[in-house]
């Protein structure tokens, strides 16, 4: 306790403690003087001798202070106070430094908060690292990830030893009716033990039990429960009407992504004869304790061979693959993009640090004498270093404070964003992890900014500094070199950032300019959720016919049509397809996606018919309809790409193709060829698409309307028409075609926006750096310039010196940046489209941009230097 009291006294009653010491030293001197006088010296000599014997009194006092308790804290406090004073003396510089650091720290905190939520936050499942996803493979057909068939799942489930448990779910959409508006909800049938496998226990009610496969019971996802039942705790026991069936709610799941959120879960009945061809099972597994994913893969390989041997026909080419559960939250793309953004923001921080270091350095030189005096008075080197470090840490702390405000604003904005593919955006927050990161960045930036000035500070040669006063000529050369190195580093970092920005922007532009095939202007898409009976007794066809008929009578609607799958917004059902005349030995057929369309669809999305004819009302669906004879003559249209593939160098019209080749092998006549489109994604190239006619069995539910003016203003009439025809029909996902496209590239958009902002800031900061070093250089060498001019140097000669001074570090920075960019840009490759990572145009443009900025700064300063009046400049000496 005693030492605490001492520290307290030393820290907070410093004045008293110091006064005491002063008085003691004074009395000691007095006693010494008395002694000398008593020994016979005259008072004057005595005083001088005492002064000599004592040496530097301040040094003694300093030493006493150093041995006192809390000396470290005390020193820290003094230096902190001095730093604050120094920063307040220089408000302009302080504000600029704090702003730059706040920008860097704020931006990195915001990016990290997204990173943390999407990639670092653990899954809400017990021992999530043991959870894996399983899929089948058919490598001989080039399929690396196929859903399980029920039979394969049962086989694996019964035989595997690597897993503590495996379970499957089969998701589908269903109509929820009963109280309130009818609604389409997503649901999943899950096998027994699904929730146990995930490690999730219901927060209300209970899990399904093993014998309940056929029971009409349901478990609710948390979000669904909150949205639909307002988090009513009495919900177990209530009855849910799904597709006309009644299901009793038995439990509610805890909050958590993915999957167990916005859904209804029903038990999956175990069939006696499990289906071998219908591949709809998603399978999750929990590895047994101590079993690695590799070991489990090896076991599955063995099982696949056994299964192939048992059923060579059905299971030919069968294999299994395992994915870590991490990808449930963030798709691989998300990881890449977020990593790249984190690196980009890191570069931004480094550039800001470079600038702050430069400013501190320049300011440190202006205080050259102060530092020299301090060291002459006995300030230790360590102390000077500490002083500089404390100052830059103070700056970075202030920057962090402001940066956190900035980050908080960003985070609030981010939470309202909706970027398909970045998980948990709405859960992004400045939580302790993020704050730890911010703390780390603050410390790092503080130390980094202080590094150059701190190394520089003790190097000041005391004598030279004191003699030269403010005009250092010899020392300034070294200082200019340090400045130039910092600027070169900044330019290199800015180069990296700008090249990434340029590459991403060019890919984005390329994506937008890609010929899409379809037209998007004045077009609107929406979905209708049909009840199940629409597909059975022809009600759906009646509805769609009368609906489209009435739409075409509307003068505001130019065209309208329906399709089974919305463009650019999978799922993408596929089929093997082959020309009927082909020999069967030609290997596996190409896989094309198929769409059921109404005749008006092509016009509505603006896809031109290249050859042949469009569908007519007489074209019937390719499937057998209940109560109707098997269709004797089937018709299809092909996208140009499919036609080229199936009938190279032939006229495909009138030729026959086999649909679902290898499965049902339906023979159909090709009646038309449709222009190619980027149906499956702007970066996916022309899609292979097979168009099938709609009918009583196949009722497309995605609608496209083309209106004369703004489609949004035409939509109320459409909505009224729908509710007039069937008041119970839910309308979903009303979006303009433009919006659908823009959502399909939300990744690239996010990347472009953020990188553009970062690139802009990087350019700004780097040009500030170049500007600053030149300004410093010109100021320091005013005298020299004056002398040169007095001796007859031309103005252009002076300009040349300045330009060399500014452009050299920029050039060096560009060269280094270029080399590093060539090396690093391959990590960008997966995000680029139509641009190579080493794209000469981008590199050249970025170089020109940076050089241009530097040149501008040079001319501004050069102009000033040229106007130097030799007489005035020399007088400054």
């Amino acid at each position: 306790m005693r030492w605490l009291a001492t520290i307290w006294r030393n820290l907070f009653h410093r004045r008293a403690v110091d006064d005491l010491l002063d008085e003691e030293v004074r009395s000691h001197k007095q006693l010494l003087e008395d002694e000398k006088i008593a020994a016979g010296a005259d008072p004057e000599t005595a005083r001088r001798e005492v002064a000599i014997e004592f040496g530097a009194i301040e040094l003694i006092k300093e030493q006493v202070r150093d041995v006192r308790r809390g000396a470290l804290l005390e020193g820290f406090r003094t230096e902190l106070r001095q730093s604050i004073r120094a920063l307040r003396r220089n408000p302009g510089m302080t504000i600029i430094c704090v702003l730059m650091l706040a920008l860097g720290i704020g931006a990195s905190t915001a990016i990290f908060s997204v990173f943390e939520a999407a990639l670092l936050r653990p899954l809400p499942f017990r021992d999530a690292d043991r959870l894996v996803e399983l899929a089948e493979t058919q490598l001989d057909r080039g399929l690396t990830e196929v859903n399980f068939s029920e039979a394969d799942f049962r086989d694996i489930h019964d035989r595997t030893k690597s897993f503590e448990s495996v379970a499957a779910y089969d998701s589908f959409e269903t109509n929820l009716t009963g109280d309130g508006e009818p609604e389409k909800v997503s649901a999943a049938q899950v096998t027994v033990g699904f929730f146990r496998t995930l490690g999730v226990n219901p927060v209300l009610g209970r899990d399904f039990s093993p014998e309940e496969g056929d029971a009409r019971i349901a478990i609710l996802g948390n979000r669904f429960w909150k949205a639909r039942y307002g988090a009513d705790r009495g919900v177990p026991g209530k009855v849910l009407r799904l597709n006309g069936g009644s299901y009793t709610v038995v439990g509610v799941l805890p909050r958590g992504e993915p999957w167990i959120d916005d859904q209804v879960y029903l038990p999956y009945p175990r069939h006696l004869n499990a289906d071998r061809t219908n591949r709809e099972f998603n399978v999750v597994g929990r590895l047994a304790k101590g079993v690695t994913a590799e070991a489990a893969s090896a076991e599955l390989r063995g099982l696949a061979l056994l299964m192939q041997a048992a059923k060579p026909k059905e299971d030919e080419g069968l294999g299994f693959t395992i994915f870590p559960s991490r990808r449930w939250v963030a798709p691989e793309e998300a990881g890449t993009v977020l990593h790249i953004l984190l690196v980009a923001v890191g570069l931004l921080v480094l550039i800001a640090c470079g600038n702050v270091a430069n400013l501190l350095l320049a300011r440190g030189l202006a205080r050259h004498r102060e530092i020299a005096v301090r060291s002459a008075l006995g300030a230790a080197r360590a102390r000077l270093v500490r002083f500089v470090m404390i100052e830059s840490l103070l700056l970075s702390t202030l920057g962090a404070g402001l940066g956190l405000v900035l980050a908080a604003v960003c985070v609030r904005g981010i939470r309202t964003l909706e970027f398909a593919g970045i998980p948990r955006l709405d859960e992004v927050s400045l939580n302790p992890w993020v704050l730890c990161f911010t703390f780390g960045v603050t410390l790092f930036t503080g130390l980094l900014c202080g590094l150059a000035p701190a190394i520089q500070a003790p190097l000041e040669a005391v004598a030279t500094a004191l003699r030269d006063g403010d005009r250092q000529t010899g020392a300034s050369r070294r200082h200019v070199r340090v400045h130039s190195m910092l600027v070169a580093a900044e330019v290199a970092f800015a180069f990296l950032l700008l090249v990434s920005t340029g590459l991403v922007l060019r890919s984005f532009q390329g994506l937008l300019n890609e010929p899409r095939g379809f037209q998007t202007t004045h077009r609107l898409l929406f979905s209708l959720s049909y009840p199940d009976d629409y597909a059975q007794d022809g009600r759906g066809k009646e509805f769609i016919d009368s609906f489209l008929d009435r739409l075409s009578a509307d003068p505001d609607i130019v065209s309208s049509g329906a399709v089974s799958v919305r463009p650019l917004q999978g799922p993408n059902p596929g089929m093997g397809i082959e020309a009927a005349a082909h020999s069967p030995a030609s290997g596996f057929p190409p896989v094309a996606s198929w769409r059921v369309i109404t005749p008006g669809y092509l016009r509505a999305v603006g896809l031109p018919l290249l050859r042949g004819r469009n569908f007519k009302q007489t074209d019937k669906p390719v499937w057998e309809e209940r109560g109707q004879p098997m269709p004797s003559h089937r018709t299809v249209m092909l996208s140009s790409a499919v036609a080229r593939l199936l009938f190279p160098n032939e006229d495909p019209i009138g030729k026959h193709a086999l649909l679902w080749k290898g499965e049902t092998n339906l023979d159909a006549e090709v009646v038309g060829v449709v222009a190619d489109s980027l149906e499956s994604g702007l970066d996916q190239g022309p899609a292979l698409t097979v168009y099938l006619p709609y009918g009583r069995m196949a009722v497309p539910s995605e609608f496209v309307i083309e209106s004369r003016g703004d489609p949004a203003s035409a939509f109320p009439a459409v909505r009224a028409l729908i509710s007039h025809l069937d008041p119970g029909l839910p309308i979903r996902d009303v979006r303009s075609f433009e919006e659908v496209i823009s959502r399909s590239i939300s990744w690239q958009r996010l990347n472009s926006i953020v990188l553009t902002a970062f690139g802009g800031f990087a350019l700004l900061l780097a040009s500030l750096g170049i500007y600053g070093v030149l300004s410093y250089f010109v100021r320091r060498r005013t005298a020299e310039i004056g002398l040169r001019m007095a001796l007859g140097a031309s103005e252009w000669g002076i300009l040349r010196i300045i330009v060399a001074q500014g452009l050299l570090p920029t050039l060096i920075g560009i060269i280094f940046g270029g080399v590093i960019a060539c090396w690093l840009s391959r990590y960008l490759k997966s995000l680029l489209f139509g641009v190579r990572p080493i794209d000469l145009f981008t590199y050249a443009a970025v170089s020109a941009l940076l050089l241009g900025t530097a040149a501008l700064a040079c001319f501004v300063h050069g102009h000033r230097a040229m106007k130097t009046d030799p007489a005035i400049a020399l007088r400054l000496e």
């Binding site: 030293v25 009395s27 000691h28 006693l31 002694e35 006092k61 006192r68």
Partner: protein, 111 residues
């Protein structure tokens, strides 16, 4: 003054000497340094630069206590005296010193 390489040893020595000379009576700084010079036959000339830090450190450690008083020639001076922990410390350090010096002497003789 002995070379500065012996600072660590000397600091302990100086503190022991201060404790020792204060054991008899309270003294002010100059008195302490004069007495040390006297008892060591002039081997230790304690300068203020060493004396003040040592005194303040020892006071903070609780071995010394100090108060203002009148010097022999009626000057105001800060007088230091030993506390109870200071006396204990003196005894400990004296024993220690005896052991160390005996050991050192032995070591230097044998080699």
């Amino acid at each position: 003054m002995p070379p500065s390489a012996n600072i660590a040893l000397l600091q302990g020595t100086l503190e022991l000497l201060i404790l020792k000379v204060l054991a008899l009576q309270a003294m002010h700084g100059l008195g302490i340094s004069r007495r040390i010079a006297q008892v060591t036959n002039g081997a230790f000339q304690v300068k203020p630069g060493s004396l003040f830090p040592a005194l303040h450190r020892m006071e903070e450690a609780g071995w010394l206590t100090s108060e203002w008083g009148e010097s022999e020639n009626n000057r105001r001076a800060r007088f230091y005296s030993l506390t109870r922990p200071g006396r204990r410390k003196l005894k400990e350090e004296t024993d220690n010193w005896g052991r160390i010096s005996a050991a050192m002497a032995g070591a230097l003789e044998t080699s």
